[in-house]
Symmetry: C2
Subunit: 217 residues, 2 copies
C-alpha cells in the first residue's frame, strides 16, 4: 500500500501502521499496541506522537515492507487455522500452524527485502496471533466454514465484510513462486479454496510432511 | 531438567521433548507437532523416530537450553495473559502481551546461551501461543482468577493441578537479575502474585511504558 500511495502522491512520505488491533476493541478504548513504520525516522515519530494515547501504544519501526507483509500474510494463515478448526482439530494443531505459518511469512519476507525481526514483533507474530486465535477474525471465520465442507463461493455469498486472506492467498502464492520460496501452508489454502481439494486430505498432507530438523542447517 | 537428569544418570544422553501439546489432545490423537532436542544429532533422531506417528510430528533440534527455557518461561507469560483476561482486557492486549512476552523470553534465552531461532519455533512461539490462548491452560486459568481480584493463596487452594508458571515466575526473575536482562512482564507477574500490587495498576503500568522503537537499534 505504501508503494501505491507514494506513486499516487509524489513526494509524500507514507507511514504504515499495523499490528494486533481489532477495530471494535480500539473503538472501545481497550489497550492496544501497534507499530508505525517509515523509511525515515522522523515520519514514524510524528505518527507515533499523533496516535499514541493511554490505551493505544505505537512503537516506531523502519522496516516498511516487513510491516506491510506481516499485515497481509497473516490473513492467509488465519484462513488455514480456520480450516483446521472447521475440521475439528484442536489447539495443538492450531499452535503448530501459527508457528510454521510465521516461518513461511519470514521466508517470503526475507526474499522481498524485509527484516526477520519485524516478523517477531507486533506486525508479524502479534497480528498473526490475534487473527488466528481471536474470535472476531473474519478470515478465520471463512476458513472455519470451508473446513466444515462449504464451498468458498457459498461462504462468501453470505458475508458483508471482506476476508482479505482469500485474495492474499493467491498473491502470496504468486510471489512465492516468483521468489522461489517454499510456502506449504499458502499452497494448501489455495488448493482447498480454489482447486477443490477436500480440506481434510489437504490438512493431513500438511501435517505429515517429511520428518526433518525444525531449523534448516 | 536435562542438566539434573545428566547429573543423576552419569553418561546418559538426555533428550528434551517440548512444544505445543495439551496432553488431552495427544491422548485423543489430535494432530500435534513438537521438537526433540539433544546436543548430539543421533540421540534426537532416535527419539524422533521413536515418537513420530501420523498425528504426532517430531522435529529434531540441537538447542537443548532454548527448548527447555521456552517450555518453562511460556508458563509465566500465560499467567500474565490470564491476569489481563481476568481484568476484562481484550484480544488486542493479549496479542501484544504474547509478542512482548516472546521478546523477553528471547532476551533471557540469549543471555543463557540459547539460540534466537528456537524461540521462533514450536518450543518457543508455538508453546507460548498454545498456553496463552488455549482454553485448557492451567497457568492461564490461575492468572484469570487473580486478575478478577482473588488472592494467589486462595486460587491455589482450589486447584488439583500444578500451575508451574507461579514458581517459574520467581526463578525467571532471579535469572533475569543475575544476567542483567530486562523482563518487565515477568516483574509484573511477580508483583501481582507475591507483592500485593493490584492487577489493574500493574497491567496499566506495563501498557504505558515509555514510547520507543520496537526493535532496539
Amino acid at each position: 500500500m505504501t508503494e501505491v500511495a507514494e506513486q499516487e502522491i509524489p513526494g509524500a512520505i507514507v507511514v504504515a501502521l499495523s499490528g494486533p488491533s481489532f477495530a471494535k476493541e480500539v473503538v472501545t478504548c481497550q489497550p492496544t499496541a501497534v507499530v508505525v513504520a517509515s523509511e525515515t525516522d522522523d515520519a514514524a515519530e510524528i505518527a507515533q506522537r499523533a496516535f499514541s494515547s493511554s490505551y493505544f501504544r505505537t512503537y516506531t519501526h523502519t522496516d516498511v515492507i516487513g510491516v506491510e507483509l506481516g499485515g497481509a500474510l497473516k490473513n492467509v494463515m488465519a484462513v488455514a487455522t480456520g480450516i483446521a478448526e472447521g475440521l475439528g482439530l484442536g489447539f495443538n494443531a492450531r499452535a503448530a500452524l501459527v508457528t510454521r505459518g510465521l516461518a513461511e511469512m519470514i521466508r517470503l519476507g526475507l526474499a522481498l527485502g524485509a527484516e526477520q525481526s519485524t516478523f517477531a514483533g507486533l506486525a508479524g507474530l502479534g497480528d498473526l496471533v490475534l487473527t488466528c486465535t481471536g474470535s472476531l477474525s473474519r478470515n478465520r471465520a471463512v476458513g472455519v466454514e470451508v473446513g466444515k465442507g462449504r464451498s468458498l463461493e457459498d461462504v462468501l455469498r453470505d458475508k458483508e465484510t471482506v476476508a482479505e486472506g482469500v485474495v492474499t492467498a493467491q498473491s502470496a502464492r504468486e510471489l512465492a513462486a516468483r521468489e522461489g520460496v517454499e510456502m506449504p501452508i499458502v499452497d494448501t489454502v489455495n488448493r482447498v479454496l480454489f482447486e477443490g481439494q477436500p480440506a481434510r486430505s489437504a490438512i493431513a498432507a500438511l501435517m505429515t510432511r517429511e520428518l526433518r530438523a525444525e531449523v534448516d542447517r
